[in-house]
Each structure stands twice: as structure tokens, then as C-alpha cells.
Amino acid sequence: MAADIAGARRAPWMLLSPSLATVGLLLIIPMLFIVVYSFWLRTATGADQVGFYLDNWIEVLGDRFYRDILFQTFAIAFYTTVICALVGYIPAYFVANTPMKSKAFLLLMLMLPFWISYIIRTMSWINILGTSGALNTVMLSIGIIDEPIQMLYNQTTVVLGLVHYLLPFMILNVYVSLDGIDKNLTEAAQSLGCTGFQAFREVTLPLSLPGLAAGSLLCFVLAAGTYITPIVLGGPRDAMFANLVFEAIVTQLNWPLGSALSLVLLALLGALVVIYTRYLGIDQIAKSFK
């Protein structure tokens, strides 16, 4: 009897063990390595000095430079998210209200950008916005401008590149939310005297907010963690926090400092996810990938 109870208690853990092992090996243990690294020091030769030092944490948490870049990173991520939400809602609404036959094709179109490398997609803007790019060439040829306009390598192009990268994530999340709304609700609202716009504002929009929030969270987190886009499309000053992590680890060969920086970013973005989960539930994001 006792053996049966013990066996019954062990069974869930046995069933969970593959998942726990995967998460432990691929997530928890590497993360612990980073935590340990963050307390080491870089020596003058670039080698690491093993020990328990708080120097990196004091520098990262006490230095205004890192705070400023962090704010700049979150500002860029915020602008990107807002633009994605505004621009992404319309196609999501369109896809959700399209007859079933066309819907599959439109969803396929949404997925197409994922088949092309993110770096290639980012670099494509150089050929569009460059001095001898498509846009300048067209405007010059039809006489709108006399000489090429400098459009590249500033914060606006960084945001543009991020919007281009993240828009499909927003559209898919909003689409899933809109697709799940019972159409009878909007029809009922209209039958009770609402105009089409009122029905959208009072029924559809509130019911689609979880999808919008999930898309926003995904866009914000991915945007805040990027470093390729500022390198390719940014000017000398347009850095994001991940660029500092890259520089600390690669350029300065200061892995301990880079570890502390990456943990700060992880903690802040993790906190955001926790807050979101507390109030809205993380399962909304999962729906868009089903």
C-alpha cells in the first residue's frame, strides 16, 4: 500500500523529468554560469580572475551611462511596439474578417518574412533608403528632389528596421484574438442600435485587447534585446543595451562585466513578463503559435 502511494507520488516527476532535464540543462545551468561569471573580474591581459567580486555589479548599477542606454533601449522598444500595434491591428482585422478560403493564403503571406534571414531583411533597407537606393532613385527621376536625401543611419531607421522585423508577431497575436471573438456579439450590438464603428469600439476592440497586449509584450521584449538592427541601420550613437553586452564580451573581452549587463537586461525584461502574466496570462502568446 505504502509502495503504491510512493509510486503514485513519483509518477508525475517521472513524467516531468524529460522537460525538467531539458529546461535545467539548456536554461538553468547556462544561466547559473552567467551568474557566476558576473562575480568574476577581467584581468589586464583579458583573462578572467575567479572569485567573488561585486565590482561589475557596482559599476553596472551605479553608472549613469548604463542607465541612459537602458532608457534609450526601452524608448526605442516602446516606439517600435506602439507603431507595430497601430500598423499591425489593421491587417490582423482584415485577415480575421476575410472569408475562410483567402484566410489561409493571407496567413501564409504573413509567415513569408520568417523564411528570410532577419539580417537580410534588415539590410534590405539600405537598398531602399540609401543615397542611391530605390526611394531616392525614384524621387530623383520624377523630379521631386534635386539631390539624394540622407535617410539612413539614425534612430528612425533603427525603429523602422525593428518594426519590419516584429510586425508579423504583432499581427499574428492580434489576429488570433480577433478570430476568437464570436461574430454574433458584434451583430447583436448592431441590432441594438450601434453603428459599425461603435460596435467595433465597444465590443471588438475590448475583446481583442489580450491579443494586442500579448503582441505588444512580444514586440517589446524582442526589440529591447536586439543588437543587429542598430549595427546595420544605426549611426555612431544609436546603440541599444544588447550592443553594450556585445562590446563588453567581444570587444573588451570582459565576460564578467558582459554577464552582469546581460543579467540586468534579463531581470528587467523578465519582470515585465511576470507583470504581464500576473494580470493577463502568458497563455495568450502561446495561442498565436498554435
Binding site: 583579458g46 583573462a47 567581444v250 570587444t251 573588451q252 565576460w255
Partner: protein
């Protein structure tokens, strides 16, 4: 068959006219990689050295026309002939590569086309250097002594690499907008000229930025007295610059597309642009920055096989073919080796073989300041 004899026989056949240049280069690429792959020590290290298994070998270089030259004249023909895959990796900068090596295991990375005495010193500091048996590299006697001596000094008399080529980081400018006379008159200060605001570029690497900041503030880059003046010059350049480029390909694209009119540039890359028909001028200003590149053997690599390969790569025919392909003069001493007709036309070529007109990073001075300056540059770059 003994590798040395095979190489000698191959070379003799080429010299006697029995085989064409193309066939020779194809065969030497094959033989060269064989040396790096199938030597005796490799058999013992095969289990530990991922890139050194008989199926593949690891070589890392700068990408673009530089790696193309290596691949074209050595590695691709070899793969075609033997079926052994050459993993030809690239890196955008020495910092990036050293981070990869640090994260790897001994033997995972074998040969690298590294830059400068400065990096050699960094690798030595990280105990990544190997010790070459120079008796196995007789062609080392043809290399310019000025290039060998600084390496030997760092590693206490031994060598972990052989110098392979050299070049300069000078000022490249679009002749459509900037004349040769103006470039010559302004020198390094051309890159902080407000007249070209928004059309200036620069390599986003801290050493180069500080070197040019020193020149712009009239200081000796190897003995900077007023570092604040240098940071001010870097800030001025930053505020006038459109873009810090991070690779040779990006440098060429920015100049070719006329996104920028002036920047520092690597002599070989600018030559490649000129050969493509772009009217780009190139100037080594007073105190201009020279550098050498070496074929570096990392600790944990199969030494005898690598030495064999290095000696082979230093054969004049091979070194000249690669040099012409990548547009950087070979490290061979023009007083000892006939470098042909094309090499003397390459930018930065020194016919005397003394390299007295070039300035190089003083490794001791720059390594001493590396931690502080690289971190400060990161801040200055971002507006501080």
C-alpha cells in the same frame, strides 16, 4: 610520401614549366590543407580537435577579398580534388575572433589570419600562443625581418606565427568631391572637417579611432600626452560621421554607394574598389597607421603539420599569388625575392623592405591602455 618532398616536387614541376599556374595553385592548396589535416600529430588530436578531423580543417580569416584569395588559391582547389571540406570561417575583427577562441577548446581553432603585433601580444597574454619549430619553416628566411622581430620579442624569442602580408589604414576619399591636393593638405584632419558633415565614415574600432584622434590632435599615437584632446577629436569625428563601419564589405559599400565621401580605409580594400572602377583616392597621412598580418597557429594545433603548411604558404609563388588576390603586399623581403610586376603597384608596398615609413602600434603601450581606452571609447561613441 613525406610532405616536404611532395611540396618540393610540386614546386619543381611548376618551375620547370611542367604544370600550369592554375594547376600548381590547385595542387598546392590541396597539399597545404593535407598538411593541416592529415599530419601525424593530427591523428592523435583528432578526437579533441573538431576542425582537425580528416574530413575538415578550420581556417579563419577576414572574409571578403582577403579570404577569397585564400580560398581561391588554396582551399577550394583542395576540396575539389580531395573531397576534404575546408571550414573557412570569417570574422569582422580580431576582438570577435579572440572571444570565439576563448570560448572554444584547444585544437578547435587551428590557423588564423590575424592582424598586427597588438593581437599577437593579446594572444600571448591569454596563453594561446604555440611555439613554432623554425627549422621546419626554411622559407621564413625570406620574410622581412622588421615584421618578424616584434613578434619574437613578445613571445620571448620564439614564434607562434609567420608574418604574411602588410598594409596600411589610410584615408580613403571620393575624388568626385575631394581633390588629391585637399586630402594631402588636410591629412588626418580631413575626417573632422565640418564641410563634410554627414558624409564622413570611420572604423568603429577603438584602436583606430584613438590612433587617428591622436594624429588629429597633433600627437604621437604611440606616446599620447593629452588623452582628453584625443577623446575630444573622437567626439568631433563622431558628431560629423554618418556611420561607423564594422567590416571591409561595409566600408566598400559605403564608399561605392557614395553614402560617405571620406573615411579611413584598409589599403587592400581601397585598391579593390579602385580596380572596380570607383574613383576613390587613398592617402597615408604623416604618421599613418601600418599593420602586418600573420598566419597564426593556435595552441593545441598539430604543430608539425601546421609548420609544413606555413612553409608552403611562404613559397614565393604562393605568397605572391595570394597577395595579388587580396591586394596586400606579401611579407617577403623584396631584397631577397623577386616579387614580380604587380606587387610593387599595390598600395603600402615598400620597395626597400624596411617599412621605415610606416608607424605600427607599439604593443606594450597599447596593451597597457587597452582595458581603459576600449571601455572609454564605448562611452564616447554613445555621446559621452
Amino acid at each position: 610520401m613525406d610532405d616536404t618532398k611532395r611540396y618540393e616536387r610540386l614546386l619543381n614541376r611548376y618551375r620547370d614549366g611542367d604544370i600550369s599556374r592554375r594547376t600548381f595553385l590547385t595542387a598546392l592548396g590541396a597539399a597545404g590543407v593535407v598538411a593541416g589535416v592529415t599530419g601525424g600529430p593530427m591523428g592523435m588530436l583528432a578526437k579533441n580537435a573538431r576542425a582537425a578531423t580528416p574530413e575538415q580543417v578550420r581556417f579563419d580569416g577576414w572574409g571578403g577579398v582577403v579570404s577569397e584569395a585564400f580560398e581561391k588559391y588554396a582551399f577550394a582547389p583542395y576540396t575539389q580534388k580531395t573531397g576534404i571540406k575546408v571550414i573557412s570561417g570569417t570574422f569582422g575583427g580580431a576582438d570577435e575572433y579572440i572571444a570565439r577562441v576563448k570560448a572554444g577548446q584547444p585544437g578547435e581553432f587551428n590557423l588564423a589570419h590575424l592582424s598586427g603585433v597588438f593581437d599577437y601580444a593579446r594572444y600571448h597574454g591569454l596563453e594561446l600562443t604555440s611555439e613554432l619549430n623554425e627549422a621546419n619553416i626554411p622559407n621564413l628566411k625570406n620574410v622581412i625581418p622588421t615584421l618578424i622581430d616584434p613578434l619574437r620579442k613578445i613571445s620571448g624569442g620564439t614564434l607562434s606565427a609567420v608574418p604574411y602580408d602588410y598594409g596600411t589604414t589610410g584615408i580613403a576619399y571620393n575624388r568626385k568631391y575631394i581633390s588629391d591636393d585637399e586630402a594631402k593638405a588636410k591629412g588626418a584632419k580631413l575626417m573632422v572637417d565640418e564641410a563634410y558633415k554627414g558624409k564622413i565614415g570611420g572604423w568603429g574600432e577603438w584602436k583606430t579611432r584613438i590612433w587617428y584622434g591622436a594624429l588629429q590632435s597633433d600627437q604621437d599615437p604611440n606616446n599620447i600626452k593629452d588623452i582628453d584632446a584625443v577623446w575630444d577629436m573622437i567626439r568631433s569625428h563622431r558628431d560629423l560621421a554618418l556611420k561607423y563601419w564594422s567590416s571591409g564589405a561595409e566600408l566598400m559599400s559605403l564608399l561605392a554607394e557614395e553614402e560617405i565621401y571620406v573615411t579611413e580605409g584598409w589599403s587592400g580594400r581601397i585598391k579593390a574598389l579602385q580596380d572596380q572602377g570607383h574613383d576613390i583616392g587613398y592617402l597615408d597621412p604623416a604618421g599613418g597607421l601600418g599593420w602586418q598580418e600573420c598566419l597564426f597557429v593556435l595552441r593545441g594545433s598539430p604543430m608539425a603539420a601546421c609548420e609544413e603548411l606555413l612553409n608552403f604558404m611562404l613559397e614565393p609563388e604562393v605568397a605572391i599569388a595570394v597577395a595579388e588576390g587580396q591586394s596586400y603586399p606579401p611579407a617577403l623581403d623584396p631584397n631577397k625575392v623577386d616579387l614580380g610586376k604587380i606587387i610593387p603597384t599595390l598600395p603600402a608596398f615598400d620597395p626597400k623592405g624596411t617599412l621605415a615609413s610606416l608607424s605600427f602600434f607599439d604593443p606594450a603601450y597599447w596593451n597597457e591602455n587597452e582595458a581603459d581606452w576600449s571601455k572609454t571609447f564605448s562611452r564616447v561613441q554613445r555621446g559621452y
